[in-house]
Symmetry: C3
Subunit: 464 residues, 3 copies
Amino acid sequence: MPLLHDDRLFPADPDTRAIARRLYATVRDLPIISPHGHTNAGWFASNEPFPDPAKLFIQPDHYVHRMLYSQGVRLEDLEIGKPVISDPRKVWRIFAEHYFLFRGTPSRLWLDYAFQEQFGLTERLGAQNADLYYDTIAEKLQTPEFRPRVLFERFRMEVLATTDAANDPLQDHQAIRDSGWQGRVIPTFRPDSVVDPDFPGFAENIVVLGEQTGEDTDTWAGYLAAQRKQRERFKALGATATDHGHPTARTENLSPEVCEQLFAAVRENEADDEDCEIFRAQMLTEMARMSVDDGLVMQIHPGSLRNHNQALFERFGRDMGADIPTPTNYVHALKPMLDVVGNEPALMIILFTLDESTFSRELAPLAGHYPCLRLGPPWWFHDSPEGMMRFRETATETAGFYNTVGFNDDTRAFLSIPARHDVARRTDCAFLARKVAEHVLEEDEAFVLAQDLTCNLVRSAYKL
Amino acid sequence: MPLLHDDRLFPADPDTRAIARRLYATVRDLPIISPHGHTNAGWFASNEPFPDPAKLFIQPDHYVHRMLYSQGVRLEDLEIGKPVISDPRKVWRIFAEHYFLFRGTPSRLWLDYAFQEQFGLTERLGAQNADLYYDTIAEKLQTPEFRPRVLFERFRMEVLATTDAANDPLQDHQAIRDSGWQGRVIPTFRPDSVVDPDFPGFAENIVVLGEQTGEDTDTWAGYLAAQRKQRERFKALGATATDHGHPTARTENLSPEVCEQLFAAVRENEADDEDCEIFRAQMLTEMARMSVDDGLVMQIHPGSLRNHNQALFERFGRDMGADIPTPTNYVHALKPMLDVVGNEPALMIILFTLDESTFSRELAPLAGHYPCLRLGPPWWFHDSPEGMMRFRETATETAGFYNTVGFNDDTRAFLSIPARHDVARRTDCAFLARKVAEHVLEEDEAFVLAQDLTCNLVRSAYKL
Amino acid sequence: MPLLHDDRLFPADPDTRAIARRLYATVRDLPIISPHGHTNAGWFASNEPFPDPAKLFIQPDHYVHRMLYSQGVRLEDLEIGKPVISDPRKVWRIFAEHYFLFRGTPSRLWLDYAFQEQFGLTERLGAQNADLYYDTIAEKLQTPEFRPRVLFERFRMEVLATTDAANDPLQDHQAIRDSGWQGRVIPTFRPDSVVDPDFPGFAENIVVLGEQTGEDTDTWAGYLAAQRKQRERFKALGATATDHGHPTARTENLSPEVCEQLFAAVRENEADDEDCEIFRAQMLTEMARMSVDDGLVMQIHPGSLRNHNQALFERFGRDMGADIPTPTNYVHALKPMLDVVGNEPALMIILFTLDESTFSRELAPLAGHYPCLRLGPPWWFHDSPEGMMRFRETATETAGFYNTVGFNDDTRAFLSIPARHDVARRTDCAFLARKVAEHVLEEDEAFVLAQDLTCNLVRSAYKL
């Protein structure tokens, strides 16, 4: 028996399921467009084999180790944070023993997909077959078929965007271009390190920003000019988008004089928490202005309280599964920015949320009005079958389908990319099938929509 | 093939669908009771033909033009805001070309219903048949069968309430009465212009209020007496309800001395934002007191941030589709008013929301306790199949069915009234059918409930 | 025809229903574990017959009388608050006449279950058979089969926890132990009266706390020591848990010096509202520290605004159905406590909510990370089929099943305990069946999960 059933995630009602099957058959093999994620361009630059199974599946996946940690597994025992895992088989066995914890989670669907589709495994993972899994995966990883570029092509990836700091030299992206390989791997401009005063090394980063661009980043005008130059550098390597992950969605629209003073205060570490928040808020508006000029699509990912677990942060650092969503307001928060750029015809701003209550209350009404706004797919904890279904149910009636932007996987785990897109395609087809079964849509429209949700909307929204 | 399937909005499971069909058959042809909306009494006073298709379907419908605007259509090209549309066929063609944007939205269901049921159209609207639609509709609008009073009767309307400013002379309502026509069209007392200090012309409106009523509206006592007289004037023309659309649900219970001072401040434009909010809050409690005395049903519609798009507001004015919901608190906000009138046996207050998270958390618990409170139907962005279903799912278990008040369409678009009530009846039957299929209700109870939700609850809640 | 159908609460789709039936068959007769509730230990100490039907079903059940009150029934007519009901048959008739109000509510399911399973009634309650019901129930209540201990055994109760004030002498619990009866009835430590400065008699309660424990509760250190001794006293009578029902989830982590001052202020009634809130917040952290040491499981039930109806509170006192949920924040609120104890391996903190929007946004992400956190079942207004289903749908994908703790009934109504557990078992099986039908889980896993959700998780979470 395979790990995954061909009808998974389709509605149980037989007629509705049949519609979902028909829709899915037309999108299953479409190319994967991945306009937002956190994979490593170096994989494709060097095309080296991926390391051992633990390093591949467990260490970088905070969905996986947060669940293990929540049930008492020590991060030390998983060798989290170590550059090289000393006993990867032992780490794998711990994971295998606890695999039942993932029942009902999207991680289970993603992992089983990779196990089955990429490694040919057919028996559910558990303590009893941990070594079989480990050996099978470890062996395949050393074969030519598992080199990153081969996988990229086997996955039918049309484009893959990484996420890169503003000052990143992007040498891996340059190396990919120089190599002559045709895979389209592009950077995304992520300026946290030079727009967030609370980012470690913020003042030094501003200095480097000036050095890299030849602008005088001691002044507000020079600082903005430097940001524009960095964005151009990203564009030259294929970037079509920027990404902004602030604690809140707050924006501001301050005078240049106030900005100048605020910029001095945050650089000299004389700003309090509120000043820092205002500075970040102002920078969203500045980035929107730059996007009007240079055409980069703006992604806003607000509302995560990072590193909630102080003790764990001190021992293991960032991204340890302790980022927790908070209530997020968009209506008042975005107004200053929208007052400036909201009606710009060529601007594209994609909004994400970790607070589902905003889909029907704020995000769909905003995106259903402002020409520059689109809704990103369900993000992070909501990148799951139930989360995706709630998104369609709560956003579609007000925003329609065409103010959404298709799926993006937002993953660090390269092998999970096909799995995640497959879950999204199946869930969208399940939603469309229900709408057809309930005669809200005709089936011919659902076929068009399935194509649009899978490929067309993401291509147009991200200008790909 | 018709535009609309007879089984639309019914559950896909065959047995459940069969129950829904049986229930719907008993309510499909019941009279339409429309106790809250924004149609124009003048239509029925003059009984003139409706104008061209664009003026009828596009210009007044902010659901329609907000969606077009969100996808880059300019409001100028739709001739929004013009008293006469110079090229209605061109406007209609733009609409037709973009009709696919409404897939999955309630607007699509409402429009298709009108196209099919009222104009006999059977082919889905698109660029290719824009002129066919235009000509068919334009022609029929000139026939006697499409005069407002004929439609009112054909729609089996038992009662239609409009919404009218406190100082409105109500001459159209008087003219309807004087005409001898038997259609029951009644006004609703909407006092924003004389209770909201932020309303344009507030101070002047207070002067007019005094002139119309012969009360001294320079004093708090005279102002309240004038409000009471206006309410009596509305009652004399058939009104059974008042309507209050404040930015928040806040209420206050201040002493008469404080009210006197606050009233002076807001009249003389010496009040700050907080004072204005407090004044509105106090006026909800005053209006509740008046309702205890005169029996008018009180409707509270809070939580919309009006005119969010500043540039559009400056060019086109109000009601341009840029009103956005905000998080709304009821539990603390309503307490001052409920402390005064919450246990009055004859009082009826109907609560609405644009913040769905309040249904299970606040509104159903409040309405499931206070004798004066009832829950209004899903409002505005939630007046949709998914929104209605979520309302029943989240409110019923705590408030029961009998603390809800049936459906009201809240529409400006007269032709969409039958469509909206049809969607509500189908969705309620779908919900009831599921409850019968899951043996939470017996089918005989569901038949009673279907009648209650369609007619009996609205008649009793609105004292019709 | 029976009152309740054997397939109630199962999905309508035939294949999915068949899976649900198979799952339910394996858990229907499992023992009832009730680790949190508000029944009266005195019933089992004295083993006296329950009184009349009105006293049993109506007077203590705020779900019942709040619904009647919301529809205009006067609490006086229900003899609410009277120690002895003078005309219980009349009260019962009022209830029977209004029984239709409960259509679609969980109360209806619970009541019908008790009527059918415990009293053999088969005809739906209404005005026409009120006396038949009354006489049948009244007669049976006098038989030996309806003595509390016999019912306890017939219900297959493995354990029943009551909720008891910190200073409660627990003589009923002692009497049960002394009686030699083997039923496991245990207390739960609920310290509101000695940790909440707003609790009536707070200062006096602190004095009694000192007297009972021999500690000097005039000092912060002595006060904490006294709390520890009381907890030990509860443990000695079988308690495994504490319970904390604060207005918010706020916690604090103040220095002992500040605590000392704050404690003096709240004891001497010199604290303002904010001080009282901070004191309660600090005490959650103190209680968590004590739980680290003594192993008592900590339950946090925040977010109810108690006694919202001031007039009713003044006439009838607490628990009159006027407690209303409020928006509740956990992410910032719990951080001070979690900074202290969040990574303690042996600590168990169970979180509840009345604000469903927190399940996916805050609670599942927190419980899916912190080893000490688990999610309690849907509580109060959400202890209902739809509420339970939404809980599983919104929490499972992020927290998994194994960071939840099974069901607890939280009831004052002893006869409703089997009904409530039955609703929970059916709803969990319905959810699992859907996941199996959609191939997210394999059926063998669903059978394991059904056992875990019914018995194993609650046993381990509550250390039973």
